[in-house]
Point group: C4
């Protein structure tokens, strides 16, 4: 969820003067303010969607049998296109290594690797759906700053409640292990409780109120214990919700984070009064 405002680099080129075309490319690829930058983003998102549709269609057997060749071609077309884009990003960013290690840099790499991996390991190409994570860039072409502020509020609340939710999940984990073992002892393997791990899986299915029904207790005692797990699960769902509601109400008053991206490494999340990137030290010029 980054917003990258390209800065007039020539104004404060402290370390090395950027060539004009790199600066322009940076504005197009990373920026969303200029007309070219916006167009680039829209084309990119359409490409991402098309490439995901290609992967999806390829997984449907009837489709693969009929259009296998074309889909395979399209897959490679999108992969090469995104590889080229990835190279351009590396070139036009001032500190490529920092971009490559950033969240979006990692996602961008991840969205081209599976095709190459698919040559070695059959089936790996389906992880191309990881490309959907690139869709996070969509917030840049929407009225982004507002959405990012909202996302930040949600994230801050999540961060603040992290410890409480860890404690909660730990408790759920222990409940699930103990009840799983208990049900394994009560129910026979005919009902589907074939081992403790399977019974734990069943307990998770039950306590989260998913309830597939592929495994379900048949004995009276088993149904009684299962009822207790259900009511417990029904009750304790209140805990994370309560935690998060309380946190969100607090964090809605907290100061939001600046959403501009660093022109040097593309990182975001700087404080509003920050003048330099906290990751690469690049000047976060605000002279326009």
């Amino acid at each position: 969820m980054t917003e990258r405002k390209p800065v007039k680099l020539q104004n404060h080129s402290e370390d090395s003067p950027a060539s004009a075309w790199r600066s322009a490319l940076n504005q197009i690829i990373f920026g969303a303010e200029t007309r070219a930058g916006k167009a680039f983003d829209i084309v990119l998102i359409i490409m991402i969607l098309l490439s995901i549709l290609t992967v999806m269609f390829d997984s449907i057997e009837a489709m693969r049998n009929q259009y296998g060749q074309q889909l395979y071609g399209a897959e490679w077309f999108f992969t090469l296109l995104f590889s080229f884009e990835y190279l351009l990003r590396l070139i036009c960013v001032r500190k490529p290594w920092l971009y490559a290690r950033s969240f979006f840099g990692f996602i961008d790499l991840l969205s081209i690797l599976p095709t190459f991996l698919g040559l070695l390991i059959p089936g790996a190409e389906y992880m191309l759906t990881l490309r959907i994570l690139r869709m996070l860039r969509i917030f840049r072409i929407l009225k982004l700053s507002e959405y990012i502020r909202e996302a930040n509020i949600l994230m801050v609340a999540l961060n603040n409640s992290f410890r409480k939710i860890t404690v909660f999940l730990f408790t759920v984990l222990m409940l699930v292990v103990v009840f799983g073992a208990l049900m394994y002892m009560i129910e026979s393997s005919e009902s589907g409780f074939t081992s403790i791990p399977t019974s734990i899986y069943w307990a998770i299915v039950t306590i989260t109120t998913v309830g597939y029904g592929d495994i379900s207790p048949q004995t009276a005692l088993g149904q009684f214990v299962a009822s207790m797990i259900m009511i417990m699960g029904y009750g304790i769902i209140a805990v994370p919700t309560g935690i998060y509601s309380a946190e969100l109400m607090k964090s809605q008053k907290s100061k939001p984070i600046d959403n501009e991206s660093c022109p040097g490494c593309g990182a975001t999340g700087h404080d509003f009064d920050a003048d330099y990137c906290k990751y690469c030290g690049h000047f976060l010029g605000e002279d326009d």
Copy 2:
């Protein structure tokens, strides 16, 4: 959710003097204050309910075989009745085009079209159940203003949390696509994971804790990943609830919206200090 208070039109007939019967008809059809207006509304709601029951009965095979003729007749009877009512509404409203384009105007049209469409496309007549949306008028004959105020509070809170919920749903969508593809790779098609779209459908069934069980993981790894999705779904249901709770607490203090409908186009949602309709500019006379 409209409240239409018929205004003494003769007092401020700026553009064209309404004939007496049109004004009276307006009071009966759109108003709920007079005895005739209330009676009209009650009869209308009974008719809507009966017409929906007709459609439902017609969909039950045993019923259709035995009473097919009568049900077909009743369907046409209600459709012609509602068509006539729709025409009356168009006639007695001062700006018919604005009414036709309003929410309720659209619903009113939608509730007669399927029967005619059913002549061309068999099965389309089942969309007559859209008539249930006309039931929203029921709030007019209940102690409406109170209910509408409550509904407004709920809507305002939904509107204010729209962006947060968009961000949330977007995140869920991405999780579901990535996990769907992952499960497609892990599980064989014998367990029901026949394609990535189907696996995404399964992931939605799981993350929302619906859990039909028509598709469910059979391998140990698949069950492990599924457990993670469930716990995730169990945890993140806290997010929309937290968002909405926090928003509702704020909006309960916010100023409610005026619920009177415009005598010109029937639109509602004007501010309390509004003197003219914001859609058609008609005077929202409050001289009584």
Copy 3:
């Protein structure tokens, strides 16, 4: 959820002097402060539990085949016992008709009728489980006043959010009808969507995230629409929770209701400063 504090009736017997034994009986049956009153309540609750167990065992075929006679006898024993208790209650209360019409009077009657009805309509005796509602009296022998205060807070919050929840349920109802009809048109009857009512049932199963899986969409389009309903259901569960959370936070500050019961008719819910019963006008003596 009543608390009945027997009052020294002789001190303020305005209308008719109660005979000593009726007053003593009142203290035992309706009171929970004296040793005899507490013992009566405990015995009563044990009897209620035993009678419910009898009904449950009677419903298990293997049990009925073996102990049918004994269970039938026990059923009549408890019914006659509770009938006798009901009569005693009518006798020792000063205004029997008001007691009979009160919530608990109604429950007490309901818990003896099904046995008699079972003579006429086979199967009606299973409604004896309504006796469980008598268990509400259990709050009297626990540290009751605290529990009743909590229950009151929950009830007040429910009452205050009644209109909001009505609006919400109405919206859910309409969604479910429209989506049910839509799915009936999309899916064939082989998947279980045999009629619109059945499809509406499926939509409720889905939107509430219960998800039995006895009926589930098989076509791609059906699964897509179902996914939308699920995500909708997942999102709008936030609405009642938000409503109730916000309301509960407000009502926790509101003044609680007095929980003493009227010695005349047994009604509760009087304001703290009330001197006379608001239902029968009896003096709510507080002279001890």
Copy 4:
């Protein structure tokens, strides 16, 4: 969730002078501040995890057939190891009886008993998974005090809402019994409603929105009643969440509890201003 800070016992040895090695052992086993204490905790947690894995593997039939002997040996190895550790704990604590009766003392005993019980009752050894409860000690090697504070906030909120949640669960219990009996009367035993207890089990599965689907109504009336239970369950899930959210918001401001453990009996939960253990009266020395 205990934090045990070993106190320099020689400074205030009021009752009996502890031998040096017992004091040192206490620091290693119960403490987490010294290097040796931390190492002991980490080794312990690894042992616990390994022993649980052993039990799980033993429950998988294919594993048991192949590695039965080794798994049986490992089980006894871990049990003897934990028995030895339990004895050490008893020795180095000043008041062993109080430790043995404490929460963690009980858990420690529980995690060795099943193996011995398994000699008498086949299958009892699966309850060795109760060892997972020992994992609660993990909070000691994490930045514990913060997690324990969070856990305390969650616990305080749960305690405060205990009565409200009791009232809520009681209501759910009664709904479930009444609706279970109702469905037993409506549905035949072919749909799975074979007895009232089974029907109550179904009602719990439904009202908690788990929905296995192993039992599901087939008649129109049954589906109608089931729909009502679902919508009820969907609505009342708001109640515990609302209760807990409201409570959590209050308790976040309340004063946290001191997390130091008593050097005498290992108990925690003392108030911040407590000078002596509230369970054994030992001095909670804070002179370092």
